[in-house]
């Protein structure tokens, strides 16, 4: 076998599920060898996995059912019964947390359920007493009331829900209470970038320092990276398209957006080495480059280009993305084996 001859090279090649499937597809290993390899690389723990699946989906469905039930606003149930049943649910969840403890997923999910029931309670309270409060106040109080529990929970999904509630508060507050002038209307993207970017930075810091290992789940990085990149990209694109109409908030948002892109690139290329995050940043960079080139070529005639311009833009698109693909393939090779 040539294994000894190539052992140094093979040591650097990570054994992945895809590699095993390739070997099987090309007839290099038998079906039995494929199953053995896959079990070696990613052993199945059906009992534990199914138990967690049932618990997570079961609680999600019951909570959704409760939300649907109170949204129905059944007149036959008295306001006292409605409010006390939700309070009973919150207390029940908290008792469950004490019984199971926050070291176990069941305890963490019960604390998350209690956090969601707090929001349901406030919505039902507003429904019964017609307080006339703006919806941003509901999300603000919901975010404030549940922050302590989220901090204690040591649970990534709990933080994701809390961040969603806080983002909702920010957007609704901007629309309903802040009532920005035209000069300031794009500041919402800066605020959202700061909120989600700080959460991402904190996540990376705590994971690298191995302080909070439970945060290391990959999806937390994916969600935060995409959200932050979108909020950074929008002001930049608006500035490119309409530079003559750019307000102070658009310019500030664009500066923060571009600086954020550069910082994110540096972190995921050199410090934490993650190809998925890097490719998302590169994609965002390609979109910015596309808009710059289109704008430079067409000026104010952006929507009324002639045929030659369309052809040139098509070729430019291929050029920009080809460069990105080549760069990512080269970088991917040098980063093989890193899965932070």
């Amino acid at each position: 076998m040539d294994v000894e001859k190539h052992s140094h090279t093979l040591e650097r090649v990570p054994a992945t599920r895809r590699l095993v499937e390739e070997l099987y597809a090309h007839g290099k290993i038998t079906h039995e060898a494929r199953d053995y390899s896959l079990n070696l690389l990613c052993p199945k723990k059906w009992g534990l996995w199914t138990s967690r699946l049932f618990l997570t989906i079961g609680i999600a469905l019951v909570l959704s059912g409760i939300i649907y039930f109170f949204a129905f606003n059944w007149a036959k149930i008295t306001p006292t019964a409605k409010l006390s049943s939700i309070q009973f649910g919150i207390v029940g969840c908290l008792v469950g947390v004490c019984v199971y403890s926050l070291q176990r997923i069941s305890g963490q999910l019960l604390l998350l359920s209690a956090s969601i029931l707090v929001g349901v309670f406030m919505a039902v309270f507003g429904q019964i007493y017609q307080t006339g409060a703006d919806s941003y106040q509901l999300f603000m109080m919901w975010s404030l009331f549940t922050f302590g529990w989220t901090l204690l929970s040591n649970f990534a999904a709990g933080w994701a829900v809390w961040l969603f509630i806080t983002n909702m508060f920010l957007v609704l507050w901007w629309e309903q209470a802040a009532l920005p002038t035209k000069e300031m209307e794009f500041m919402i993207f800066t605020y959202m970038t700061i909120l989600n970017g700080s959460a991402l930075a904190l996540r990376e810091y705590l994971v690298v320092d191995k302080v909070w290992k439970w945060l290391a789940v990959r999806w937390t990085r994916v969600i935060l990276t995409i959200t932050t990149l979108i909020t950074m990209l929008i002001p930049v694109v608006v500035l490119i398209l309409e530079p003559s109409q750019a307000t102070g908030s658009i310019i500030l948002g664009s500066i923060i957006g571009l600086a954020g892109h550069c910082l994110a690139y540096f972190v995921y290329r050199y410090k934490l080495q993650d190809m998925w995050s890097l490719s998302t940043i590169i994609l965002s960079g390609c979109i910015i480059a596309e808009f710059i080139i289109f704008k430079l070529l067409l000026g104010e005639q952006f929507w009324r280009a002639d045929a030659g311009m369309y052809l040139f833009m098509g070729l430019m698109t291929l050029g920009i993305f080809t460069t990105a693909v080549i760069y990512l393939r080269k970088t991917g090779k040098s980063m093989e084996g890193y899965y932070v």
Partner: protein
């Protein structure tokens, strides 16, 4: 890499296989090294390729239209230009070869953009010729069937196959001329999607070339249940037609039991207590639950059995999207929907408690595929 995945090198894997007497192939090391020279594109590169082709194809269609090379009022001209672009795309891919150079990447992207332009023009031409909503489906079926074996870019295979299946679904749900047989056709199409997905995803002998098609079937299944979560009554004005979810629930329930049997290594193993109870749980879900919930759980289980993270993610994303659309479905009241959701949740939580009681959580009920 999944957090459940252990880190091994290719050298360690081969050593393990050799120790167990599972490989004697002397060329295995050379094969792995060759694979590293020409690896299949990662998913993130495929996404980048797709975005580039989409933007570039819009620019090229704009160029052809403004330059007067094509006219959207001449059907035959559109079809001919479409076929020329498709042929050009196949040629460009052949010329591109397999190396990892700038020219190769540029040619692959140009080829994919050319394919997108060609297929769009062809579909427009045939649709206009047919003068029917089914024209687009027919055109997509013809062009996808013709290019699938010839054009090996997996993202194109997936998108074309999905567009074909999706257009058939949309036509069946909204074509006013088939109102008398809509329910029958919709159920038949769902069954076809289900059988297609099951055959392609559970059969080890299916070639890798058909993976994009299998995902097109899975995504079409998801699209079907999401449409039915939004509406169960189709048609406009006073004429309403009901598509009852019973048949779909039956298909998903039977499929769920078959999936448990397949994951366990054979239907005979369903006699085992844990698997029998899982089957009963599936029947209970089928009786009280909604199609989107059963399909989402099924996709996650299938994904775990096949170790396909994309399937697990698809199932996990289907659930919240389904719940969101289901909330706004006006065919049943929020109270009924609440009952369905709470009932389904309780079935799962009871199942979980029973597993804990029997000690199956620690892997006692593990059922590795044989």
């Amino acid at each position: 890499m999944s957090k459940y995945m252990r880190k091994y090198s290719a050298a360690t894997l081969i050593e393990n296989l050799a120790d167990k007497g599972l490989t004697t192939d002397k060329e295995i090391a050379n094969f792995i090294i060759a694979q590293q020279q020409e690896p299949e594109l990662s998913l993130y590169l495929k996404i980048l390729l797709g975005v580039a082709a989409f933007i570039a194809s819009l620019c090229f269609i704009g160029f052809l239209s403004i330059a007067g090379i094509i006219s959207f009022s001449h059907k035959i001209e559109l079809i001919i230009w479409g076929l020329i672009f498709v042929a050009g795309a196949i040629g460009l891919l052949r010329i591109a070869g397999d190396n990892n150079t700038m020219t190769h990447s540029f040619l692959v992207q140009s080829s994919f953009a050319s394919m997108a332009v060609g297929k769009t023009l062809f579909v427009f031409g045939v649709s206009m010729m047919q003068n029917s909503v089914w024209g687009a489906s027919l055109a997509l079926l013809l062009i996808t069937g013709a290019t699938y074996p010839l054009y090996s870019v997996s993202i194109d295979r997936f998108l074309s196959s999905f567009a074909t299946l999706f257009s058939i679904l949309v036509n069946i749900l909204w074509d006013s001329s088939i109102s008398s047989s809509r329910e029958l056709l919709a159920n038949g199409l769902f069954f076809t999607f289900f059988v297609g997905s099951a055959l392609l995803l559970t059969n080890d002998k299916v070639k890798r070339d058909y993976i994009p098609l299998s995902y097109a079937f899975v995504f079409s299944l998801c699209a079907s249940v999401l449409f039915l979560a939004s509406y169960t009554e189709f048609g406009y004005w006073k004429h309403k037609e009901l598509i009852h979810p019973t048949f779909i629930n039956i298909v998903l329930t039977v499929g769920g039991i078959a999936l448990i049997g397949w994951a366990a290594g054979g239907l005979k193993k369903l006699k085992k207590e844990s698997l029998l109870l899982a089957s009963i749980g599936t029947v209970l879900l089928g009786l009280i639950s909604a199609p989107g919930i059963i399909l989402a759980i099924g996709l996650m289980v299938l994904g775990y059995a096949k170790r396909e993270n994309l399937l697990i993610t698809s199932g996990a994303l289907l659930m919240p999207v389904f719940l969101f659309l289901y909330y706004y479905n006006l065919d049943i009241s929020l109270m009924q929907k609440s009952g369905i959701l709470i009932g389904s949740g309780i079935v799962l939580l009871v199942g979980r408690s029973y597993m804990k009681h029997k000690g199956w959580r620690e892997g006692g009920a593990s059922c590795v595929q044989k």
